[in-house]
């Protein structure tokens, strides 16, 4: 799967990157598509991909059953959208989930490429490569003025949505999120808590993504996203250094306690786990901790979600604690 694994920089602060293209095909309506028509579209896309055997061998074609546990767990790992899991449809995806082509969304096709760290360029390149392969064989709903036509006017033009998930716990506690919202808004980007339960984003994870899709080129959107992300990352880094020099004991205390919980807990709920993992991520990037890579933390964060784990709430809490103890076995406090 090496071909479809994308890793970007700032892995300790930029958790992951996603790029999605919305596309529709000529001759099919967007709504009230019959099951046959939907299958026809899925087959056409699958055939188009199979015209390039080197690419096709990385992909599998599966049916997504509406509301199935399999579908829900794919939502938690961000591989498919909640809408696809709810409606059912088809998924053409690489084994590691890095690339997923969804059929059954409000648009005929949603092509998504995911990577770890800050890698919008790499993800975009891959998305374009796959989109051109498909577009060269199936006529698209495209208008010379409006670009790619989509069910929702908010996606029209490039059909591109690019997002980066950032870990901003210090910016959050310093009250800088509203400033970030304003700064992003002015540049056509939006900020949202990634696990937004309660009044704050759990664990300080925020998602930055473009709102504007028309009148701006794909490259321009990607460039802007990278620029904005690096600016924010820089701010978070500065805050971390300032806080660590002024309140080192408080900061290391929090980090080390989180390590203690993850290393010893016998049962743990999702939110507490995410909060602790957030502290561990801070610890790793501040060089208080060593022995685990930030990418491993991120992967684990997905593995401990309820539908991925399955079973009853009690069983899940135990299983989650087990996974986390296993993850932190090699984690060491080095201060």
């Amino acid at each position: 799967m090496a071909d479809f694994e994308f890793h970007g920089g700032f892995a300790d602060l930029a958790v992951s990157t996603r790029v999605r293209l919305a596309r529709n095909f000529k001759g099919y309506t967007y709504r009230n598509l019959t099951a046959e028509k939907q299958k026809e579209i899925a087959d056409k896309i699958w055939n188009a991909i199979n015209s390039a055997p080197a690419i096709a061998k990385e992909f599998t074609f599966t049916e997504i059953k509406a509301g199935s546990n399999n579908a829900l767990s794919k939502v938690e790992t961000h591989q498919i959208s909640p809408e696809l899991a709810q409606n059912g449809g088809y998924l053409i995806a690489t084994e590691n989930g890095g690339v997923s082509i969804m059929i059954g969304e409000e648009d005929h096709m949603r092509l998504q490429v995911m990577g770890s760290g800050l890698c919008p360029k790499e993800c975009m390149q891959e998305a374009s490569r796959l989109a051109s392969l498909i577009e060269s064989q199936i006529p698209m709903d495209y208008d010379t003025n409006l670009g790619y036509l989509t069910a929702c006017p908010s996606n029209i033009g490039t059909g591109l949505r690019a997002s980066v998930m950032l870990h901003l716990p210090m910016l959050e506690s310093a009250g800088g999120i509203s400033e970030l919202v304003n700064l992003s808004g002015r540049q056509g980007f939006t900020v949202r808590g990634a696990y937004g339960e309660g009044s704050r984003a759990v664990g300080g994870f925020y998602q930055l993504s473009n709102q504007i899709t028309l009148g701006i080129s794909e490259d321009n959107i990607i460039e802007k996203l990278i620029k904005l992300s690096t600016e924010v990352i820089e701010k978070e880094k500065n805050l971390r250094h300032r806080i660590s020099s002024q309140y080192e004991i408080e900061l290391t205390d929090k980090v080390c306690r989180a390590v203690g919980i993850l290393k010893t807990a016998r049962q743990i709920q999702t939110n507490e786990a995410i909060d602790c993992l957030s502290q561990v991520l801070i610890g790793i990037s501040m060089k208080y901790l060593d022995g685990v890579k930030p990418e491993e933390i991120w992967k684990t964060e997905q593995r401990i979600q309820p539908a991925v784990l399955g079973g009853t709430a009690n069983e899940r809490d135990k299983k989650r604690a087990e996974i986390l103890r296993d993850l932190t076995k090699s984690l060491e406090i080095i201060i």
Binding site: R18, N24, Y28, T29, Y30, R31, N32, L72, V75, H78, S81, P82, Q86, E135, S136, P139, M140, Y142, D143, T144, L146, G147, T150, A151, C152, P153, S154, N155, I156, G157, T158, L160, R161, S163, I177, S178, G185, G188, T190, V191, R192, G193, Y195, G196, E197, G198, S199, R200, Q207, S209, N210, I212, L214, G215, I216, E218, Q269, T270, P306, A313
Partner: protein, 172 residues
């Protein structure tokens, strides 16, 4: 106070979510609170609650986007239909979604101003699919307009003749 989710039980918890700095608050009963935020997501809660709401896949203009469409007066007046997919004007205004590619033509008077408002632009500048063949005449016409604008009449005359020649070829 009654739970704002089920409307039946006594509310005991406040549930808050924060999107783009705007806080939404709900008073919930223990069951609904567990359902919306807790560890045992039912199918409904998985899609309704912000906890699992995967914003990435959603319409980024969600909260205010559709409100531009949803003027009740306009919704009632809509009797037009898209010839291709049968979408009515009122449906379009209610859902905020096009029913097919041709809806952008059928309802261009509604959709184009809306698009312009959303994106601050009305013309695509990104990539095009390979198969879309642009008419070479379009390019010549744009150049002609530019030449006229720049008072480059000699160039404009040449372009005009070339356009006439090519139009003759295409028609004949």
């Amino acid at each position: 106070m009654l739970c704002q989710h089920c409307g039946k039980n006594q509310a005991t918890t406040f549930y808050k979510e924060n999107i783009n700095g705007q806080t939404k608050q709900l008073a919930l009963c223990p069951e609904c609170a567990a359902e919306l935020t807790g560890e045992t997501p039912t199918f409904g809660s998985l899609f309704d609650s912000s906890f699992w709401n995967d914003d990435f896949f959603k319409n980024p203009f969600g909260t205010w986007g559709n409100s531009l469409f949803a003027s009740p007066k306009q919704a009632i007046s809509g009797g037009r239909r898209c010839n291709t997919c049968g979408m009515t004007e009122s449906e379009l205004r209610r859902t905020g979604r096009a029913g097919c590619g041709d809806c952008y033509n059928s309802f261009s008077d509604i959709l184009l101003p809306y698009i312009k408002k959303l994106h601050g632009a009305a013309a695509h500048v990104g990539t095009a699919p390979k198969q879309v063949e642009t008419n070479p005449l379009d390019d010549l016409k744009t150049r002609l307009a530019d030449a006229v604008k720049n008072e480059n009449y000699e160039e404009a005359a040449k372009l005009r003749d070339e356009i006439r020649r090519q139009e003759g070829e295409q028609n004949g």
